[in-house]
Assembly symmetry: C3
Homo-oligomer: 350 residues x 3
């Protein structure tokens, strides 16, 4: 953050990313910020009518917005179709990933048979096992552990304290945040003679290109076949993916979600925080699941699905919750009433 | 635990913390214990009528209790208003944090521009980045990683395996348990051209004084502004706090809770285990949320809120659960019955 | 995975584990696989009629199955009572744990008063505190931290990045996966004078023999007494066990479950993923709790218990969910209808 920043004129930004420029094209931009906090040298964006007041009052040196709101401010502005996506690109331009300084720290332990690319950076206290590989431009921060035969692609970033178990494969441009555990044993047990017997977990985890995985998320290795996370999947923090799961390309899963073993989730799905997906299920492409929703059956059609108990004051909840356990009795009484009323109505009409 | 213990006479304890002493004031106390397991040299407390029998049978050398139960035992005792809080103070007196042995372990890697206070202790395999600071009396245990420009206040304790990403700020007397990740990237993505684009997370995490954070809890850095945990907040294990959240002072959150991004939780709140709080919400001061409750709307008034499906035998659940998905049909049938019955009653009275 | 494999003839397997052998007894087996993917040298199993088609088409060199399906394939096969348990034993035979190479890595830091068995293996960047013990044949991988006086039994396996706090005790043949935290402070706080006061957590964690604990699972030390995980308990990933809990022998708990403090769970229980068990509860032996179920009362009788809101399309959920908050009103209207109808029926019969 303290490094000297690259400066871009507004005109240069429009030349790169398109859009219509209104106002002073020579404004110099060094950073992005919210409408509320932006000041000199900063560019903000407006994508939600909730923030109209902040748009009107912003002190940002420039704003990214849609055509329908371009008259709401007189500040220099870029008018475009999708202000949020445009902002994402501008922010990525202004905040490039830190350059990786090639080399292996003298306090890393790299097995002689491992292959670390010349342009990769291996931090202190990193352990890399036999036959493992780290690709060009990849950064492996302090205290990561890569097991035997692990393959890390190029331009990856493993933050401090990541563990990748033996034989797992990580694609290119993958980001693993601190505390991520890839390839621990799945929960495979057989019950016999009054105790659980461990079933060796001999599959791997395969992570596709451009996957990002949040802090303390865990992905178990397959029991027999592999657990597969396809390209472009984005997983937030503290997610648990069970053995043999397959998560389809470009699916995004928010924090604290659990996916039990052998479930297949389609492509382009969006799963809200703290949702729970049971085991051996199939979730179709383009399914959206609301936060805190438990899914115990397959979902074979695209759409948005929800299962959340509505929140209320505790005393109201107490009054209502007991009825839920007797809804079938209530429904029976209703049926009974309908029959009796129909009979009365019949007599009436005789 | 094996270190020689400090001994306090009961009279000394009362002199420090107040309360009325009944029985032998010279009893020597070295440790706290439960009513059930306490023995010689140990002091226990009684704060819940569920444990009356254990109070009567306790072999504790002294008991802390309220005025209304002071006659229930003849053991030496301290009578006070709030026995649990009194006990907390006695236990803190008897179990002071271990002294920190100043110095940096030769197998730590501290950047030359980092400033570590002379009285701080840096354990083996710790990595400290450029421009980082560790304050007086702070302990950083094995395998912690502090990024560039991280500031750790004084008298903090970071247990083994904590990661604090670059630029984050930790106040004084903060406790971070093992596996805590502070400042990983928030889940910021923009969808464009069939794939997710990462939005750089340029905010920080700010932790106030006297914050304690449990094992494997994660707090994401802000997208643009900072994620803020105010003073005195207590977070249990395995909690996920999304980017841009603000948690008000002295709020306590139990284990496994997820708080999605940009949500503001007030001061003095209490949130039960495994609750889920959606994103962009506002939770007022003094709100209590029950365990396992999902919150998807703002809560603007103090009070206790609950949303828990009541547990029942699986076969009963099967009978009832299906009705929940058709409650509007059931309500419609009820309305219909009411109309028909009213008509019948009308005719009756004709 | 790349190490040369042990080969077993089918006849040898049957000699070890029993069962009836049909077909060529000299087939050489080197690995297990699913019916779908198995090929030469591989043995598979059939235990679920869902996979009958795959059984008929399998190219496995041998199959383990039950008597009633032994005619469904002509491949060499072992007929036995419980094909899944039999398969577990065959897989364990074919995939023995890697041999542990005795010795302590020069980049480990072992306190001079710690005792590490001669046959144990201590990896790089491991920190072992004063008075700690590691038993015969145990493996402690990179970046693990064992606090003062920790005891690790024999033939244990601690994967990279495990933290065990001071004084905790781990039995024999225990497996702790990466990121497991044993013995962090429980969430013990007393409220006084407008702020939380920490209650020292002076109990320990005791893990029995043959316990396995999944990645990033956390088990808090007791507040006064110990937290106890009895022998043969199997915990999946990202589970949180609060202070003073006791988990009975041979209980299995799936991923993302939270158990609040002081709860006692019986023996032989099975708890589904993302379930939440409140604090100070008692769960009997042989209780099964469904995934995503919140338990806020004790369960004193064996059986299967569930509390899951059934999932539906979001628009249907919207229609139905509001009624849940007014079920008592609905039940009142039903009672009213019943009374009025009974009166009408009475008049009818007059």
């Amino acid at each position: 953050m303290n490094s000297p920043r690259q400066v871009y004129r507004l005109s240069e930004i429009v030349r790169r990313f398109g859009g219509e420029l209104l106002g002073n094209a020579d404004v110099c931009i060094t950073q992005v910020a919210t409408l509320e906090t932006a000041g000199p040298g900063q560019i903000s964006f407006y994508a939600n009518s909730r923030y109209r007041k902040q748009l009107e009052q912003t002190r940002a040196d420039a704003v990214i917005l849609g055509a329908d709101s371009s008259a709401s401010t007189r500040r220099p502005r870029i008018v475009c179709k999708d202000p949020y996506a445009y902002f994402a690109r501008v922010s990525a331009l202004l905040n490039p990933p830190l350059a990786v300084a090639p080399g292996t720290h003298p306090l890393a332990v790299v097995h002689p048979t491992a292959r670390v690319a010349a342009s990769a950076c291996i931090g202190p206290f990193v352990a890399i096992g036999a036959g493992a590989e780290v690709g060009e431009g990849s950064l492996v921060e302090a205290s990561c552990a890569l097991g035997d035969n692990v393959r890390i692609g190029s331009d990856c970033r493993l933050y401090s304290g990541v563990s990748v178990y033996h034989d797992c494969v990580v694609g290119d441009r993958v980001i693993l945040h601190s505390g991520v555990i890839i390839g621990a044993d799945g929960f495979g047990l057989a019950w016999e003679s009054g105790r659980w017997h461990k079933i060796p977990q001999i599959g791997r985890v395969l992570l596709g290109d451009d996957v990002e995985i949040g802090a303390n998320t865990t992905i178990d290795r397959g029991a027999l076949d592999d657990t597969v996370i396809e390209e472009g999947v984005k997983l937030d923090n503290q997610i648990q993916i069970g053995h043999n799961c397959r998560i389809g390309a470009h699916t995004a899963i928010a924090g604290c979600v659990g996916v039990a073993g052998s479930t297949r989730i389609g492509r382009y799905c969006r799963i809200g925080g703290s949702a729970m997906i049971g085991g051996h299920l199939e979730i179709a492409d383009n399914v959206e699941i609301s936060g805190a929703t438990g899914v115990s059956k397959s979902i074979l059609k695209a759409g948005t699905y929800t299962a959340v108990f509505p929140v209320s004051l505790h005393r109201d909840w107490l009054r209502n919750a007991s009825h839920i356990r007797h809804l079938d009795v209530l429904a029976g009484r209703l049926r009974d009433l309908e029959a009796r009323l129909a009979e009365l109505e019949g007599k009436k009409n005789e």
